[in-house]
Amino acid sequence: MPANNLPAVDYILIVHLTVLLILIFYAIFALIIVRQVDLMSKTLITPVSPVVKFISIVHAGLSLGFVVLSWGIL
């Protein structure tokens, strides 16, 4: 059955919920990355390690912000 025969409201709602779910999982994943980077930085200590750690925290913050932003947009 062609996709354009689906009821428009249901289709959009499903896509909205899927996207939000992806973003929520992404935010959880970003928080796990922060923990992973912390572990990595303790295992190998270099001048770059604090920078990478900072990037991972910013990345996690952004991903959480995007969940809120997308909730607002959608």
């Binding site: 354009n4 896509v15 980077v37 990595m40 295992t43 270099t46 990478v52 995007f66 997308s70």
Partner: protein
């Protein structure tokens, strides 16, 4: 600091390093091996630009999508690019092989939840072999180093490191220096 072949790095340390232990060699996979995540990231990054042409070329009919949903889908695409790039870099940067004046250390982070550290004292090392294989390996001069130890664990392998023959030679020089049994 972002090199894949560092001799006597002064500002690098690893977990469990002794006070009288010096890093002689710090190795990572050759930068060329990063193409395995750089190319997919680049394609994903460019996908939103080429998407209209792809849809038109394949003649796919989509129902009308609201602009706000399109914006969020583009955002999701760039988040995926971000995480693929960041994870690729982390995997490359923190998976290191270290030769010190006391031992060999192989630090592996296979996935988000798996950390593996192999240690082998130089006195336990019996031999080191190197090999270069594949077109990229020959062109960019990288390959694997296989280190045989006398312990229960059979071997420590350095994968896709630059100058594998030089690395194997340096390891054996160090083994001979400490007078490891079976060396040479």
């Amino acid at each position: 600091m972002l090199s894949s072949y560092l001799e006597n790095p002064t500002n690098c340390f690893f977990e469990g390093q002794d006070h009288d232990e010096n890093i002689l060699l710090l190795l990572r996979a050759h930068p060329v091996t990063n193409l395995s995540w750089i190319i997919p990231s680049l394609l994903l990054f460019l996908l939103p630009y080429f998407w209209p042409f792809i849809v038109e070329m394949l003649n796919i009919q989509f129902p009308p999508i609201p602009q706000n949903l399109v914006n969020v889908l583009i955002l999701v695409n760039y988040l995926i690019v971000l995480v693929v790039t960041f994870e690729g870099f982390l995997h490359w940067y923190f998976n290191v092989y270290i030769l010190t004046n006391k031992k060999i250390v192989d630090i592996d982070f296979h996935s988000l939840m798996f950390k593996n550290v192999d240690l082998a004292p130089l006195s336990q090392i019996q031999e080191a072999n190197s090999q270069m294989a594949g077109l990229l390996g020959i062109i960019f001069h990288y390959g694997d180093v296989f280190i045989q130890t006398a312990g229960a664990k059979v071997a420590i392998d350095f994968h896709q490191v630059p100058n594998p023959h030089k690395v194997a030679d340096k390891i054996m020089d160090e083994v001979l220096r400490v007078g490891g049994k079976g060396a040479g």
